[in-house]
Symmetry: C2
Subunit: 253 residues, 2 copies
């Protein structure tokens, strides 16, 4: 079903940052032929998962996706659980908080609550990030099983800043440390002046669904504040996991 693969892959390119694509533009970013891309889009349009702006001829996500999300959210609530937890995190820490979903070999933010401070970290909803350079990605990777991490480590890890960990044995040690501590502290490994602390959120099946994280500018990332943020984030993530139906086997009965 490579054809289906390609079609749903197209959906993945749309994000808050880029909500519309021209035909050629989308074909280029996806690496598909223009004619094929159009046929794929037509199939998606037929079911309202994509719609075309009749003025600009650009393609964007269609209203059909709303129905799917509503049904999913009823069958297993996620956003309705994370949003209040994120609000609480922002209140406790004063920093922007977000929940990201592990999706294949990428991670994408689906729920964001921003800090009221004027100097804050801003996230882009729906934007995908690399697993190996974000705090959320690293905690997912640590609990995501050998298959996922070894698949990722097979390729050369790109460095985004001078602090990005790309060396494989160092990376493996890091994942061990995450599994021991249950969290990860990212200090400017993806973007300069952005530090964040993430903790994993597990599903009923004990697989990492995603991660909750709080991000702060380096100037507000003192030892004391790290301690505060860490405590808040790990507690919020644990609460979320519990709400998802995850039963911890290490916790007190």
């Amino acid at each position: 079903m490579q054809t289906v693969d390609k079609a749903v892959e197209l959906l993945g390119f749309f994000s808050e940052a880029q909500q519309e694509f021209g035909l050629s533009e989308l074909a280029r970013t996806a690496g598909f032929d223009k004619a094929s891309t159009r046929r794929l889009l037509l199939a998606l349009i037929k079911h309202d998962y994509i719609e075309q702006n009749p003025a600009t001829k650009a393609y964007r996500l269609g209203p059909g996706v709303l129905r799917l999300a509503r049904v999913r959210e009823i069958s297993s609530p996620l956003i309705s659980i994370t949003t209040p937890l994120l609000n609480e995190l922002v209140e406790q820490t004063g920093e922007s908080a977000h929940f990201s979903l592990l999706s294949g070999e990428r991670i994408s933010s689906v729920d964001i609550v921003e800090s009221p401070k004027s100097n804050r970290i801003n996230f882009v909803l729906g934007e995908e990030g690399p697993l190996h350079a974000t705090a959320s990605g690293i905690v997912c990777l640590a609990y995501g099983g050998d298959a996922l991490s070894s698949r990722l480590l097979r390729r050369k890890l790109p460095a985004y800043t001078e602090y990005t960990v790309t060396e494989k044995t160092q990376f493996a040690d890091m994942l061990h440390a995450v599994r021991d501590s249950g969290h990860y502290i990212n200090r400017e490994q993806y973007e300069y002046d952005v530090c964040s602390i993430a903790a994993p959120v597990f599903s009923q099946t004990a697989q990492p669904l995603g991660a909750m994280a709080v991000a702060a500018p380096t100037s507000r990332f003192s030892k004391d504040r790290q301690k505060l943020i860490l405590a808040a984030v790990t507690q919020a993530a644990a609460t979320a996991s519990r709400a998802m139906g995850f039963k911890s086997h290490t916790g007190n009965s």
Copy 2:
């Protein structure tokens, strides 16, 4: 792209009423081969639009759909507009209100606010209904263009109650009346003891996106209450259309 068609068609079967499908069950309802169905599902699973319950082996919508809906809702808000309007409708009328999306030749509810009364009409989120027997469907059909209505009228229209309009010329007259009045009043044409009033919601491109509707038991559907409900529904739908960026050409400049 019949393959993509089939894959996304599978997504359409999931609703609040049926959130999970076994493999054989889904293949049967879709009319596909079991092997093909599984391959399609695997492609969707790869991108987290479907996930498999590891205990029961049943398939359900995956977390990936949440991301899509969030991005869509940012690029053009819909649910966040309809929900407060529906709340207002319930407050004004005391009856259940819902917003449904026109999707192909079916209509499906994506936003529901239920009446506080114990005897109320209950809707199933994400459930698809026929265009020709529901108030929401009929108003969409009236404004959906000749192509849509003639395609639908080509087939024999199934009757759900003795009041369902299935005769083609009568149906055409009905659509004309809707276009004149801007609404439709359904009296037990889909389900006995359920009456509803719907008004269309238009997009920027003046196409019917869907409809807002209020539904009541026949016992609470007096002439006076119809008048009250009608006024509230048409106003709410007009407000929604305006929020979608629709510019009415019949209204006051």
